[in-house]
Structures are given as C-alpha cells and as structure tokens.
Symmetry: C2
Subunit: 298 residues, 2 copies
C-alpha cells in the first residue's frame, strides 16, 4: 500500500515507512547472541534524547555510544540489509543532538535512516516512561532486549505501547474536509485525527472523531494506508470517508478551524501555491498523501 502511494505521488516521500531492519524477534530472548552482536565491530547505535538523535559534526552518530557499552542499557532493533546489528539507547542529555522534526521537514537524511529512528525513538521513550510497574508500583527491569519489562515484585509483564490513531479525509461532492489546530504553523491545514478507544472498530472511531471534532457525519470508511508516528508511539491509520452533508460544527477545544476545500484550492495547497499561503500538511506525513489521493476521487 505504501508502494501504491509512492507511485501515485512521485517526488514526495511518506516518512518512517522505509525501514530495512529485520527485527529478528527470535533472537531477543537469547542474551548471549544479543551481547555478541552488541560487542561486534559492525554494531550501530542510535542515541535518543527526547525528540532528538545523538550526533557528531551535525550528523547522527551511530558508531559509538556516548557511555561505556557495558553500563548503558540497549534495545536491539534488528539487523539491517547488510546484516549489521542496530541498537537504540537513551542518550545522556548533555551530548550533541539533532532534533528529529527539522530532519524530517528538511529531508536531511535518507528515508531508511528516519525509519530506523522511528523504531528507536518509540522504544526508548517507552522505557523512559515505564520504569515502574503500573500494577504495583515497584521498579521493573528491561527484558527481551528491550521488548518487555518485568516486575520482580508482582511478576507482571509489560509490553511496549503502540497507540492506534485514525486519520481521515472526509469527502462530499467536489470538496474535502480539513482542519487545523491552534498550535500548528500558520496556514497549515490537515486531515482530522484522533486516538482510538477501547471497544471500537477503526470505522466506528472515524465516525466518532469526525463527529466530535467537526460535527460532520461520515459513512463508507475506506482504508488507504498506515504510518508509524514516533511522537511518541502512534500508529496512524489513514482512511477516506464520505460525508453525509457539508454541515460544520467545530469543536473549539480540539480544532481552531475546519473547512470544506474545493479540489482546485487543495491542489494549490499541496503544491504550496495558495494565494493565501495555506498549505496541506507536509509530504512526510500520511495526511499529505491521503489528501492528494482524495482529490483524485472527489
């Protein structure tokens, strides 16, 4: 499906979906094998500090961790296309870093590197925020090369979170529905989105969120593509839907504005040629591609 999107929109790249990492989950519980990989000369290390990656000379530094290898906990990401092992670790906040978002925005690194960051960033953040057992409050320990935490007190096991988010473009006649949050850069409009909740389908979540945020009823939800979004660990589930009508009732808490845009205006926004300087998300975001495909259908 991601290939389909690349083919349909040549020249634009959706972020975080081009990883070459073979995760090799079968090795995670083999601490001997993991240690051998970690000590090998070919091992590569991604240092994560908040939303940034450890760097040297303004480039991500994969070659050496910033602390003695034995003292820093590492997460095994897997083997790359050349069978080199990759690890992630929490970088000391004092090391030089490059922020991930400008790297994304500027297209400063190949997609395959950004995609490794996504896995690294989500897992490091999860460990950072899950040092204690949610079931009993005791400190937990990292297991399975970073894919599990174990509570020595109550024996509970904890696994990394992946939070599904629905992101949707509603269509009606020749127009599509976009919104903007107050915190976004000026002029940016994008697809509506929201976290899924326990006990609902993707289709139900799309209907609920579009109603909650914009007061628009939709049907005929159609899955288009997905994207991991590592801020901190979302799975973006991208869909199109058909609106019952063009009514609007914007929830001022979630959105600052929502509008129905005609195809011609969207084309200008996608290509950054809008006379009012409006634009439609950035190409690394799945929203940009959902919008681009939608205007071929409305």
């Amino acid at each position: 499906m991601q290939n389909l999107i690349s083919q349909q929109l040549p020249g634009t790249k959706i972020g975080f979906i081009s990883s070459d990492i073979d995760r090799r989950a079968d090795l995670r519980s083999d601490s001997g094998a993991i240690l051998t990989y970690r000590q090998s000369d070919s091992a590569r290390f991604i240092g994560i500090s908040g939303d940034a990656v450890a760097s040297r000379d303004q480039k991500p530094d994969y070659d050496r961790p910033f602390a003695p290898a034995g003292e820093v906990e590492t997460i095994f990401l897997g083997l790359d296309a050349g069978l080199d092992p990759w690890f992630a670790y929490r970088a000391n906040s004092a090391v030089p870093t490059l922020a991930l978002r400008p790297i994304l925005l500027g297209g400063l690194l190949p997609e395959v590197e950004l995609s490794r960051f996504a896995q690294a960033r989500s897992l490091v953040h999860w460990h950072e925020r899950h040092g204690f057992c949610a079931n009993c409050g005791a400190p937990t320990t990292m297991q399975d090369a970073g894919y599990r935490r174990q509570c020595p007190a109550c024996k509970a096991e904890h696994f990394p979170r992946t939070d599904p988010v629905v992101i949707m473009v509603a269509m009606h006649g020749g127009a599509i529905l976009l919104g903007r949050q107050a915190a976004w850069p000026e002029g940016m409009y994008s697809a509506l989105a929201g976290f899924m909740e326990p006990g609902e389908t993707i289709e139900q979540a799309v209907i609920r969120e579009t109603w909650e945020e914009a007061g628009v009823r939709v049907r005929d939800v159609r899955y288009i593509a997905s994207q991991p979004w590592p801020f901190p660990a979302s799975l973006m589930i991208g869909v199109h839907a058909v609106a019952e009508e063009r009514s609007l009732h914007v929830d001022g808490n979630e959105l600052q504005d929502a509008r129905w845009f005609e195809r011609d205006e969207i084309n200008l926004m996608l290509n950054r040629k809008h006379p009012g300087n409006l634009y439609a998300a950035n190409p690394y975001a799945i929203a940009h591609h959902l919008i681009g495909q939608a205007i071929e259908h409305v």
Copy 2:
C-alpha cells in the same frame, strides 16, 4: 466495512462491533453531569470481574451495582440509543457472574449487549492493572470519568491502552494459510495474528508476523475489516495478503501447526462439516469472516 461483512455472510455475526453507545467524550470532564447521570433512575451498570459480567438469575444485571453507588468507582461508557447512560465498574469477585466467552460462543445475548461489554471489559481491566504510575511508581487516580489516570506525584497522565494486532489470511493459487496454537480447542484452525510493534506499518507487521510464525513471504496486503477484542484490549486489524509461494516453516513456539488448505476443505471447515472435525474459528471472531471472504477470492 462491518456492514459489508454482514451482507456477504448472512447468518453469521461478528462480535463486539454493534455498539449503540454514543461515547460523549465531551461530558467526561464535567463531573457534575456525570454524577447526575450516575444517580438517575435510567442509569445502567455493567459489573466486570475478570472475563465475566455481574449477573442475577443467569442474566447480566445492569440495574443496580453490587455496592453502594458512592463507594464504587465507575467508568462512563456513554448514552445508548434511548439516551440512557451506561457505566462500567469492577465487580466484587464474590458476586455471581457469567463468563463472557461462553456467552459469545453460545450467542446467548444480542450483539449490541456484547459490544457494550467490550468497551466495559477493556476499560475496567486497564484500571485494574494501572493503579500506579509507570513513570514514578506512585498511586494514581481515575480522572475524566475513567478515560485518564493522573499521577499526583510526578504529574504524568496515563491513557487507556488499545493494542493493535494484525490478523491475516495469506492466499496462494487456490489455497489459504491457516494455523493453530497448542492451547486452542482440538480441530480449530484460524488466521495467523500478532501484536504490532512500535515503528512499523500495518503492512510491514503482516509481512513480519507471517514470516516469523509460518516462514511464508507475503505481499499485496489488503485491509478488510477491524474488530475490538476485549481480552483485554486488542484492536484486530484484519487483512488478506498474497503469498510468494506455499513454502512453510512453522515456528513451534507460536504455532503448533500451520497448513495450506484448499477452498473445498475450508468450506467444510467453515460449515462444521469437515470429515476430520477440523473447523475454521468461530463466527464471532473476525478470522472466520476473513477466511470466508478469502475463499471467494482465491
């Protein structure tokens, strides 16, 4: 999409997707409104104890909680089609209960009731297992009518988990790939499935899991439908995929067996007429419907 499945397979019902609850997230932070609903005569309460629902006379008991209303924490599920408010709570383990799985298997309750249970069960379980802050270990408190927990010590906020799972039927020529776990009832085969991990797309997870579990390479992943699975809080993302070949290499840890089945044999399994008493999941599970649709395509 769920309607599509119902239409294609009349007489069978997929579980947990027919909720009539309007969640009314806008009310959750309005503690006065929530209290008014809770005290109203029309309020309904679903008591959850493990995998079972509080009952009286062998029927779920929605009319009164089993403890004084003021002492039991309740989760606001939303308003039903008749605008009655629904709540969930953790039932005392001493109350009579009905186990959810036999209710499902036996078709003993209307789908709309089962679907409310899915929301109730996932949320109650999350609170049960998340009484402490994963960030600092301090006890947390329920907020937003059950959709958030707050740490008074480090101020961290915690939100209910929804764990995305890919569930897939791989096809090759006239055959489809099914597997079985050692713990399943004798004769049952179903779609392969696995938890998604941070940093991957749905399509990448399908490719990874099918390779890990059965040694089969797949491509052309196609989304079919989704289902909430409240044991405890999964989102089943159901897909079809095309296998590169019929090779098999079964991972004995995850699966006891996996096989390529021809269309005629699958038809017998779906209709419980297989001469060897094999059968293909149960109709309340999304797997049954993914399999049924797959044999129309292979």
